[in-house]
């Protein structure tokens, strides 16, 4: 009896977990496939990148200056070393399995620009900064966005038009452009906040008050830029959902029964918020994309900034490692959202109970 009551939600979660696992494998397949589909010889580029410190950004950023010390002989040795290291002398399917094996044992290779640091370590060091920015800003944007969206839908008329235009405009701003504007106004113009970094230069992160104040000062602008732009999208979605609910038959009926406005908006809100939870999960990928660029603009030491530096230095292991770990995080967060959703929405349980 007990088992029967529990299992529909469980079944839902098992299916979801299987789906995310497949998705992760697909992501890894891309990491494997893309270099092999591209024209040119990535290993050659890799060796060149190590020797020259050249960038793929096309702007010739990066070090240089070590060229002359390397002979053709050494380049050849390096080339052969990498061919062996990536198992490129093996048949294709073995190469693929090798990659999977490496990833699942936590080996993402060694970074070129931060040699001899392992990619896993570099990205893990950056990850807390990214998550510390991503999670609070997403939650803040979601809560505020839903409240404002529902408010606009409820108010109707002029308030709605103004809010709608505002939401629309801010939701379509490129994240990093808004970041530039914030830097211009608040960091350069008013000098309220620092323009870059996560803490002042020369400070070692610790748990003292002065560091926390310093950290929060650096945190404000990136946080604000992420909140405001996600907020626009969330508010637009919630507004549409609430209008749908307010115009529905059950609303008209409840209204004719003489229910108070407060109660009506309460019902509408509860029904409209459900799809917004799925919306939050779906938009997570987009938010992470925005964050990569925002971190770059602010020089915030998260995974996005690491990825940016890796691009400039043609550090392919680091680019791919960052992608892999970012994807893993997004998938795990999606799964957490699913657990939450299965808990909140009774229809999920019902749907899976019927299917059985």
């Amino acid at each position: 009896m007990d088992r029967k009551a529990k299992s529909p939600a469980l079944l839902f979660l098992i299916r979801k977990a299987a789906f995310y696992f497949i998705t992760f494998i697909v992501a890894l397949t891309f990491v494997w496939l893309i270099p092999r589909l591209m024209p040119g010889d990535p290993i050659r580029q890799l060796v060149l990148a190590i020797l020259l410190g050249a960038g793929v950004g096309g702007e010739g950023a990066g070090g240089g200056g070590v060229t002359s010390q390397f002979t053709v002989q050494q380049a050849k040795l390096l080339y052969e070393f990498y061919v062996k290291k990536f198992g490129l002398d093996q048949p294709l399917h073995i190469q693929y399995l090798l990659l999977l094996k490496r990833v699942f044992t936590g080996d993402l290779g060694i970074s070129i620009m931060f040699q001899p640091d392992r990619v896993v370590d570099i990205v893990s060091r950056a990850l807390p900064w990214s998550l510390g920015l991503l999670i609070p800003s997403t939650i803040t944007a979601w809560v505020l966005g839903n409240m404002l969206g529902a408010y606009a839908a409820y108010k109707d008329g002029k308030t709605d038009s103004i809010l709608y235009s505002l939401f629309l405009f801010i939701s379509q701003m490129p994240y990093y452009w808004f970041a530039l504007v914030l830097i211009y106004v608040f960091a350069i113009g008013l000098r309220w906040f620092p323009a870059a970094g996560a803490y002042s230069v020369g400070v070692v992160p610790n748990l003292s008050w002065s560091f926390i104040v310093d950290f929060l000062q650096h945190y404000t602008l990136p946080f604000l830029s992420l909140v405001l732009i996600s907020l626009g999208g969330q508010a637009l979605g919630m507004r549409t959902m609430t209008i749908y609910e307010l115009n529905s038959d059950y609303m008209n009926y409840s209204e004719s029964l003489g229910l108070s406005d407060r109660k009506l908006i309460g019902y509408a809100f509860r029904n409209a918020i459900l799809p917004q939870i799925t919306g939050l999960a779906i938009h997570l990928g987009t938010t992470v994309s925005g964050q990569i660029v925002t971190e770059t603009v602010f020089g915030y030491p998260g995974v996005g900034f690491i990825m940016y530096q890796a691009i400039l230095h043609a550090d392919y292991p680091l680019i791919e490692g960052s992608f892999t770990i970012l994807t893993l995080c997004v998938l795990m967060m999606n799964f957490i959202m699913d657990i939450l959703y299965a808990y909140i929405d009774p229809r999920i349980k019902a749907a899976y109970a019927e299917e059985r």
Partner: protein
Amino acid sequence: MTGLIGYLKVIAQYRKLLIGLTLLIGLLVFSIPGMFFYHIDPRSLEFKDLQPPSPTNPLGTDVFGRDVLAQLIHGTYNSFRIGVFAGLLATLIGILVGSVAGYTGGTIDEALNLITNTFLVLPTLALLIVIASYIRIRNEFVMIIIIGSTAWPWTARAIRAQVYSLKAREFVDLARISGLPKLEIIFLEILPNMLSYIVMCFTLQMAGAILSEAGLSAIGLGPTALVTLGMMLRWAIIWEAPRIGAWWWFIPPGILITLIAVSFLLINSGLDEIYNPRLRRGR
């Protein structure tokens, strides 16, 4: 002629659609005829660097002494082109995947659905970064292909849902009974009936593609030798335009990108109001 006037009358009734179209046309007029009336080459380095707006350079110059207005005009046009074609590619792939999945059902549907959902949860820009980092010379064509081929899942999902509901209608049953081949039913019977919906998907894809181009450009993976709004921002970020105080250099491209995306979105929700009366409210 009366048909055209009829259309215009309908459009005039829907404020969002009207504003969206006006904005879009305004932006197109700014960029395309602009190129013929404003003769300065966006890549010419003939001016003094970092000049604020003046009669010779109405929007000043950037750090290399290039005219900002000329870059905006050409950049808008190039961003538009990438947006339109990448959006078109994404919409076409989305239609193909979505309609085949929705109409066929069964295992094929489940497989295509799985692929679609997989792409939906992946962080797209991160994937684009991995792809673009391997391509050293990125021209317009490359940008269109990589943006278009990663943006289709939203459309596929939406189209699938629509096809799924349309396929239960009588006219589809009729087509099936009269022995039309599957592909013909999908492309000649079902899809024409959801043309408005497809156009709406297309507008969203164009807005998304323009923002994607801007995002990729911002981190140094934009087109290598093309002036786009995203590449303008790229240079502004590298040379720290806000710190120099060169507002005329980094503010306008962002506003233009936003306005392009907003115009497409307004057109989208305007069309939504026309086809979806539940969304209409006191006009």
